[in-house]
């Protein structure tokens, strides 16, 4: 029986470590927002992030004043930093939905303690992503023209265009992610409402928890709604990055016009997203002492997902080069040569291979997978690598296309860089606010992970009854002595 227990422990490791009760998990997670003094590192972190976010404000003001000419975007590289950063951010968001929806459908218990902040990450990443196309339109105050509405100009958007699909996909994705995140929050906000002492916060949490009281009938409908939302978010998240990849693959630029773009982009999105989840989870569990809830097992699993998606992405790089050669098209083959060794950006290509293809191989080894520090470092490398991937795909395809007379080089201007760094600050500021005011881990779902949440705690009762039988047997045998 000891062996069986060990095997079970290995196959289904405990997702909550330590002796937790329903009350202790509620307090541990809830008190970060309610009771504990805001820690000093929070002020430092938020202050820094908020300061960096001012770069975004500054850039946007200058951008709206002068126009998008202040960016390095030129002809023929008409899509540069804005779309690189757009795709990078939106890809990061995908891991949040993957964790909350797909892993729920697959009944992966380890999603439970990381889904809340991963979903928050999704929301904030989509917010950052959305800024780029809106400001790239040049006149962001007319961005509502993107939506089909009856107007006096008598014009409609072109629904056959992938850019239009993008508008629908990204706005639906942002809305559904917000709904999914919020519906998950309602029971936890009710927990905070019932525990808050401060009148103001009690009022705010009351409003946002809609008077939730945990009735069995409510839970029944709630679970149905949650499961169906997960079911519809799964095709949604896959469709969003597929559609983002259509922005490229529906065009006829060599290096973009490829049928394998949707799966390639989706895998890359999940890869980058898990890197960001790790970048957020590791400091979070350290600074807030949450190692019993976000356990080492969680990090190892995320490392494995990163390895798997990283290998898919590496396979895509190999196939991309192979297609260029096998196509027999001189333009495709020229693009590959230009991208990999003959062109001016070869360095970035090899840096990308180093970051995304080679560094990730370390995760085959237990030593790296089980080390917080290494996972953190690798996540930074992967985030850089995924950014480089979009840079390479976009810039090397555009800068030398069919007509040599229109070839040109691309380099970002200082405003491209401040805008990108600014969105990083914006993202982390939002995340710091989230950590301060909203429970970072789903409290009610963590309660369901505890052994005492099982009605008649099946496996446990079984183990205990086996022990009892053995015990009785010892006592009564031999019966007639």
């Amino acid at each position: 029986m000891q062996d069986a227990k060990e095997l079970k422990q290995k196959l289904h490791p405990a997702m909550v470590e330590g002796d937790h009760t329903f009350a202790s998990v509620s307090d541990k997670i809830g008190d970060v927002t309610l009771k504990r003094r805001t820690p000093f590192h929070w002020f430092i972190g938020f202050g820094l992030a908020f300061l960096v976010a001012q770069l975004l404000l500054f850039t946007i003001i200058w951008l709206v004043t002068k126009g998008i000419g202040i960016w390095g975007t030129n002809q023929p590289v008409g899509w540069a930093f804005p779309i690189i950063n757009f795709v990078w951010w939106i890809g990061i968001g995908h891991a949040g939905t993957l964790i909350s929806a797909i892993l729920l459908l697959l009944n992966q218990k380890w999603r439970t303690s990381i889904n809340r902040f991963a979903e928050a990450m999704t929301l904030f990443a989509v917010a950052c992503a959305g800024l780029y196309p809106v400001f790239h339109t040049g006149r962001p105050w007319l961005a509502y023209w993107l939506f089909p509405y009856p107007n006096t100009m008598g014009i409609w958007p072109q629904f056959r265009s992938p850019l239009m699909w993008d508008v629908f996909a990204v706005s639906t994705y942002a809305t559904v992610s917000l709904l999914f995140w919020y519906i998950g929050l309602i029971p936890d906000l009710a927990t905070l409402r019932d525990r808050a002492k401060n009148k103001f916060f009690k009022f705010v949490y009351s409003i946002f928890s809609w008077g939730w009281r945990g009735s069995a009938r409510h839970w029944h409908r709630y679970e149905l709604a949650y499961l169906i939302l997960a079911g519809i978010s799964t095709p949604l998240v896959l469709s969003v990055h597929s559609i983002v990849s259509f922005d490229f693959s529906v065009s006829q630029i060599p290096g973009w016009h490829a049928t394998f773009f949707p799966p390639y982009f989706v895998a890359g999105a999940i890869y980058a997203g898990f890197a960001m989840v790790l970048l957020l989870a590791i400091p979070l569990r350290r600074l807030y002492n949450m190692r019993d809830l976000i356990t080492d097992t969680h990090l190892i699993y995320m490392g494995k997902v990163m390895l798997a998606t990283g290998l898919i992405v590496a396979y895509a790089y190999v196939m991309e080069a192979y297609f260029g050669w096998y196509s027999g098209s001189q333009y495709e083959w020229f693009m590959i040569k230009n991208r990999i060794w003959d062109g001016p950006y070869w360095f970035f290509y090899w840096l990308l291979i180093l970051c995304n293809g080679l560094s990730i191989q370390l995760l085959w080894f237990k030593r790296f997978r089980e080390s917080e520090i290494w996972l953190f470092i690798l996540s930074i490398i992967v985030s850089i690598g995924m950014w480089l991937e979009r840079f390479v795909i976009i810039v090397t395809s555009l800068q030398r296309d069919y007509l040599p007379s229109s070839w040109a080089m691309y380099s970002p201007s200082v405003f491209d860089i401040t805008m990108f760094v600014g969105t990083l600050g914006f993202f982390f500021s939002l995340f710091y606010l989230f950590v301060r005011f909203v429970p970072v881990i789903s409290i009610f779902e963590v309660r369901t992970l505890l052994p005492q949440a099982n009605v008649h705690g099946r496996q446990q009762d079984f183990d205990e009854s086996v022990l009892e039988v053995e015990y009785t047997y010892d006592r009564t045998d031999p019966p007639n002595s």
Binding site: R160, D194, S239, F246, Q452
Partner: protein, 177 residues
């Protein structure tokens, strides 16, 4: 005392105790009952005889509405109102109409899922009699509560209360209206 009572509530420490008690309540013939727990308990649906919600059908209807809205909009714009023929493609070019219509399907069903759930649950309800029990604040934290409402046909204050006290509850409360 007994006329301004919404119901009689029992508090339990563990989900197992509450589900067992709920089965006894149901077997005793009470129908206007409810249970409160800090997390979803699947066993309670069967124990209290809660029927499956119609919510999934509503969401399906919402999804179909979204799909038809998306396709209808595209048809109106590109076939009926203003045809732009590009690259010899037909005015009603279905394959390229799929992505927006698909996103509309998802959007509509998500809205119905969330707001339909809240609507069927009767939320928002800032006031509810159960909140009058001070210990009920623990229902969102660690305790489990079972209630028999006074509108139940079998309800009789003295009898129901003594029945509830016999369920092995931690404590039994009168819930005032």
């Amino acid at each position: 005392m007994a006329d301004n009572i919404y119901g009689i509530m029992a508090e339990f420490d563990t989900p197992t105790e509450m589900v067992d008690a709920a089965r006894m309540v149901r077997d005793a013939g009470y129908t206007k009952t409810d249970a409160f727990s800090p997390f979803p308990l699947h066993e309670i649906d069967e124990a209290l005889g809660i029927k499956r919600s119609i919510l999934p059908y509503l969401i399906f209807a919402g999804g179909i509405t979204g799909l038809l809205t998306g396709l209808g909009l595209e048809y109106y714009v590109h076939v009926f109102d203003w045809q732009i023929i590009v690259g010899g493609r037909p005015a009603f070019s279905l394959p390229s109409f799929v992505p927006p219509a698909f996103e509309m399907t998802i959007l509509f069903s998500a809205f119905i899922a969330v707001f339909g759930m809240l609507f069927l649950n009767g939320l928002p309800s800032p006031y509810h009699p159960v909140f009058n029990v001070p210990r009920f604040a623990l229902a969102t934290r660690e305790k489990f509560f079972l209630i028999i409402e006074s509108t139940d046909p079998k309800y009789d204050y003295a009898e129901t209360r003594s029945f509830m006290e016999g369920l092995g509850a931690q404590e039994v409360f009168d819930v005032e209206e």
